[in-house]
């Protein structure tokens, strides 16, 4: 029994502990989690046997550890997390960086005649979030922007995919499946866009608009999320889908 224990000292409240005793007391958490060496464990147990207060502290910490483990919050979104990560990895492999659920901005040359404050507001609308709830404002902004940004500075490999909350856009709801909007770079020929989307089970219904926006249809039972995922995996895209914003390399948040 240590000298301190013989004196009945309160291990947990007395900072003036002897070297041996204090060292042992400080190791109790790792005795509780089972990671001490057998020798250290033996010393802890011997001290606990000799000193009721030391033993009580061990019981105390065991209860605390159990309570902490039991209250660990359950996480059920691992599947969604993996989808995002996989999309990010694939985007990186194809030369596009991607940021999960974070605001991001594309850098582009100032080509609009809009007042800067109004242009800023329009741009902010693009980056305030990644949810489907933003898809409509994003789409509207880009459609409007099509009239303003006659010469958008875009990477030739950059696309923007959008969808409407109901899987279609106003007046376009059809029986062919969800509608997607894709903004292709101005330099990309229409037949190249058509070939690209056809290869991935999509079809061009309309476009390009003056802003370079195509309306696509996903065939059959494919959901809008599946269609977006297909497109994301196929090409480097800048997408507005729930929880995900993709930006071209070098165009991270400012």
């Amino acid at each position: 029994m240590s000298k301190a224990s013989e004196n009945g000292r309160q291990h947990d409240q007395d900072p003036e502990a002897s070297d041996v005793d204090e060292a042992l007391f400080m190791l109790i958490p790792w005795h509780v989690n089972g990671t001490l060496s057998p020798e250290e464990d033996a010393r802890i147990l011997a001290e606990a046997e000799a000193c009721p207060r030391f033993a009580a502290e061990i019981r105390h910490q065991r209860r605390l550890a159990t309570a902490l483990i039991e209250m660990e919050p359950a996480q059920n979104a691992a599947g969604a997390s993996w989808q995002r990560l996989e999309a990010m990895v694939r985007a990186e492999q194809e030369g596009v960086s991607m940021q999960p659920a974070a605001p991001a901005r594309r850098r582009r040359a100032r080509t609009s005649w809009l007042p800067r404050w109004l242009e800023d507001m329009r741009r902010e609308t693009l980056w305030l979030g990644g949810g489907l709830g933003l898809a409509l404002p994003v789409m509207a902004a880009l459609l409007l922007g099509g009239a303003f940004d006659r010469d958008p500075v875009v990477n030739p490999t950059e696309f923007i995919t959008m969808t409407t909350p109901d899987g279609g856009s106003a007046g376009e709801a059809g029986a062919e499946g969800p509608r997607l909007r894709l903004r292709a770079p101005a330099e990309m020929p229409e037949d190249a866009v058509a070939a690209l989307v056809t290869r991935h089970g999509l079809r061009v219904l309309d476009g390009p608009s003056t802003g370079g926006i195509y309306t696509l249809s996903a065939a059959g039972e494919v959901t809008e999320q599946e269609a977006i995922a297909v497109l994301e995996r196929a090409v480097p895209v800048l997408a507005a889908v729930p929880g995900v914003v993709v930006v071209p390399v070098g165009s991270g948040p400012e």
Binding site: D12, M26, P29, W30, V32, T35, L64, S81, M88, P100
Partner: protein
Amino acid sequence: MNRTLDIMSLGSRSGEAPEAEIDLIRSIAEGDLAAFERLHQRYYTRLMGFALRMTQRHDAAEEIASDTLMAVWRGAGNFRGESKASTWIFGIAYRQAMKLLSRRKPLDMAAEIDEELPSATTGEEEVEMLFQRHTLSNALAQLPLEQRATVQLTYVYGYRLSEIAAITGCPEGTVKSRMFHARNRLRALLGGAS
């Protein structure tokens, strides 16, 4: 106590020996996406739990977990195996959490963890348990970040003292000191309930 939530103790459901994490990291370094998915399966829940207790916010926790795993994907080739893979990964998560928390305004980090609340049909014992958890959760949230992380890494994730020192980038003496002060603070906050 067993290392209840320790990642290394997780085996495959088929009863096969768990894939060595060093091999997993090597495969990831070679660009093996399937290996990365297996690593994600092993770590995501734990990284989320750790980050959630650190930040008190789901969005911030998700950001930390995702950033950590992406850092593993990008940096697997730099892992030399001098520590356990889990120590390396949690070290990344710890730094990500500290970085995120240092740049966010306190208002942005207002706690939002949804603790389960008792309903009219909840039994008496369960109500008591839920209130105890709520009290403990609040007390934990009042600890300084470094102490909170030390408590979590020790009691919940079962790391060795030396591993926590490696994860948090400080001497073992500092880890012991943080744990000592955390215990005293929890005792003060919880009274007899601790």
